[in-house]
């Protein structure tokens, strides 16, 4: 597509500068909310907070420019952090950076192959399972902060949650999570509490991130270590990003370019891996906060990333003394926001199969800590349920003109590997008849199993001396019969395959 300079400038203005005040304000709010999350997810992944903070900065900035969904927030996320835990523990940080780059490259390839459209193959029940599993995992990751900690952490977290949930009833002028963090930090500092702080969790950024290729040997062996992590990371990153893009589309009643988003996420991860950050993706909760704070354009995402890093660098010494209990409270809020609460009453209304898919997805993720695996199992379960449902739609009716004469079987519905049993049970091949007509006008033959079933019927009827006529086969079915059917080939025998 060739764009004239004027439409290009017009689009650029619309995507960056059409809502400056709202975007600046929302970007600031999100930057503040990103700090505890980026630190929290670094801890989940088992790396220094600076790895998550650098990642959130660079992913936000690159996705703002290269992504396909304006006003969406991307950064270090829980879904991705959980997938890298064993890589970091077994092989160390350089391999995480290498995996992040490979993740990005895979996502760019997915984007170029236009795989975004396959998102609709992920059913809603699986998506609900995805966000619910994610929410539960974020919550569970907070529980370990309580073990071995002084009892004072309980009232601290409770006070944090109270501020987060009660303050918005009084005022929405300042973000409640920020107030909670500041208030709890003041309390713990003045009380001289022994509770763990952010500074105890590892190194914070003290300078701008710099470009450096990961210190790993560029060998096939490195790739075999990194790829089993990069593949699920790429997949989960895209699923969460495209789901989030859909949510922002829905909230703002606008469209977005999903393939550009996939490429943008990929590029963001490649850059992030080169600047000492961990792989990330779009963030459901933060993007909702962003739109809810008035953001509409790419400017909000860019501002969020830049503010985030600026605040960390300027206020690093203050960030260091934030008690972990305050972050735990914020992360519990994030998990509550991520959970799909509407899905709980929905379980009573929806078909049982959808509830099983949703719970199955959640269950697999909770056991394996792998969202990619959960989605795989969820999609597979959905396909099974769907094919079973479709299989029930095959119907065989028949009528006889005179006893021993011609029986016409009318077949309606989808004949394929799941439905052939139900299909075959509609026939009586032992009946003594002169002729059998199989009327397939209202049926569709889908696969080799369907053709084999037709073969079986024809040959069984013929074995009884009955003449068989096929009628009303559509073009696709005829093509399949031509290619695969054996009942008219020499030597075909009833029961020969089946």
């Amino acid at each position: 597509m060739v764009q004239t300079p004027s439409t290009f400038v017009h689009r650029l203005r619309a995507e960056w500068l059409s809502n400056v005040r709202g975007d600046l304000l929302a970007g600031l709010v999100v930057a503040l909310a990103l700090i505890p999350e980026a630190i929290g997810f670094s801890i989940v992944a088992g790396v220094d907070p600076k790895v998550g903070l650098y990642a959130s900065f660079s992913i936000a900035v690159v996705a703002a420019i290269a992504g396909g969904r304006p006003a969406m927030i991307s950064g270090a996320t829980g879904a991705m952090a959980l997938l890298m835990v064993t890589l970091v523990a077994d092989h160390g940080l350089p391999y995480l950076f290498a995996a992040t780059i490979v993740t990005g490259l895979l996502q760019v390839v997915f984007g170029l192959l236009r795989l975004g459209r396959y998102m609709r193959f992920v059913p809603k029940a699986v998506m609900v399972g995805f966000v619910n599993a994610l929410a539960i995992l974020i919550f569970l990751a907070q529980v370990e902060h309580f073990s071995g900690a002084p009892l004072a952490i309980y009232p601290l977290v409770l006070a944090g949650l109270a501020i987060i949930y009660l303050l918005p009833r009084l005022t929405t002028a300042v973000p409640a999570p920020l107030v909670a963090i500041v208030a709890l930090t003041l309390v713990t500092v003045f009380a001289g509490s022994p509770l763990a702080t952010v500074g105890d969790m590892g190194e914070l950024p003290s300078a701008l991130p710099f470009f450096a290729l990961p210190q790993v040997p560029f060998t096939l062996e490195t790739l075999t270590i990194v790829l089993p992590y990069a593949f699920p990371l790429a997949l989960v990153g895209l699923i969460e990003s495209l789901l989030t893009a859909n949510i922002v589309d829905d909230l703002t009643d606008t469209e977005s370019d999903k393939n550009r988003e996939a490429r943008g996420q990929g590029l963001a991860n490649v850059v992030t891996g080169c600047f000492g950050g961990m792989a990330g993706c779009a963030m459901i909760g933060q993007s909702i906060i962003n739109v809810g704070s008035g953001a509409r354009t790419r400017l909000s995402t860019l501002v969020a990333g830049v503010f985030l890093l600026a605040m960390i660098l300027l206020l690093g010494d203050l960030v260091r003394i934030i008690p972990m209990g305050a972050l735990v409270a914020v992360m519990i809020m994030v998990s509550i926001n991520t959970f799909d609460w509407g899905s709980l009453p929905g379980m009573l209304r929806h078909p049982k199969s959808e509830t099983i898919v949703m719970i199955g997805t959640v269950g697999v993720v909770l056991v394996t800590h792998n969202l990619a695996l959960g989605v795989g199992v969820g999609v597979t379960l959905s396909l099974l349920f769907f094919s079973r449902k479709i299989a029930k739609l095959v119907e065989v009716t028949s009528h006889l003109d005179v006893p021993g004469g011609t029986r016409t079987y009318r077949i309606a519905g989808q004949v394929f590997f799941v439905s052939t049993e139900a299909f075959l049970s509609g026939f009586d091949t032992n009946e003594r008849l002169e002729e059998v007509v199989l009327d397939l006008t209202a049926a569709h033959l889908w696969d080799a199993t369907a053709i084999a079933a037709i073969d079986k019927l024809v040959l069984r009827f013929r074995a009884r001396g009955t003449r068989v006529t096929l009628r009303g086969v559509n073009d696709e079915g005829a093509a399949l019969l031509d290619k695969l059917a054996v009942h008219d080939r020499p030597g075909a025998r009833a029961g020969g395959h089946g």
Binding site: G22, I247, D250, L251, T252, D253, V291
Partner: protein, 138 residues
């Protein structure tokens, strides 16, 4: 004579005053009531991220009901999602309104700085004439 009048409303007393004004002075004109649903509101009331489309649709339906309740039988009612000023201008252009009649809250100071005035910006950016009224107009 104005024949097509757009009436943006946020259900506040000032927009009701604007509606009265339009009905009184342009009884023969074709009138269209418009409510702009801000994505901010949808995002802040979202309970189920995966069903965000359903929730937006439900909210739009609910507001359309409210709008129909205040509209007269001969008036059209439209709900659109977007930012207030841009959406009002787009609807005026698209529908071919030759006059926009709307209320202003008359906020001043900090509240004015934070919320701006939608009416003020519509006046500045609209291609056609705009009529503004205050809520305490008799």
């Amino acid at each position: 004579m104005f024949v097509k009048i757009l009436l943006p409303t946020d259900f506040s007393p000032s927009s009701e005053a604007a509606m009265r004004l339009a009905r009184e002075h342009f009884p023969a004109a074709e009138r269209c009531l418009l409510h702009v649903l801000d994505p901010k509101r949808i995002a802040n009331e979202l309970a189920s991220p995966v069903s965000s489309k359903d929730e937006r649709d439900a909210m739009e339906r609910e507001i359309l009901e409210q709008l129909r309740a205040v509209a007269r039988p001969d008036e059209a009612a439209v709900v659109r999602v977007g930012t207030a000023v841009e959406t009002i201008l787009a609807q005026a252009e698209g529908w071919g309104a030759d006059l926009i009649v709307m209320g202003t809250h008359g906020r001043t100071g900090v509240a004015h700085f934070m919320n701006g005035s939608v009416a003020e910006r519509v006046v500045r950016l609209a291609r056609g004439p705009v009529l503004i009224t205050h809520e305490n107009r008799p």
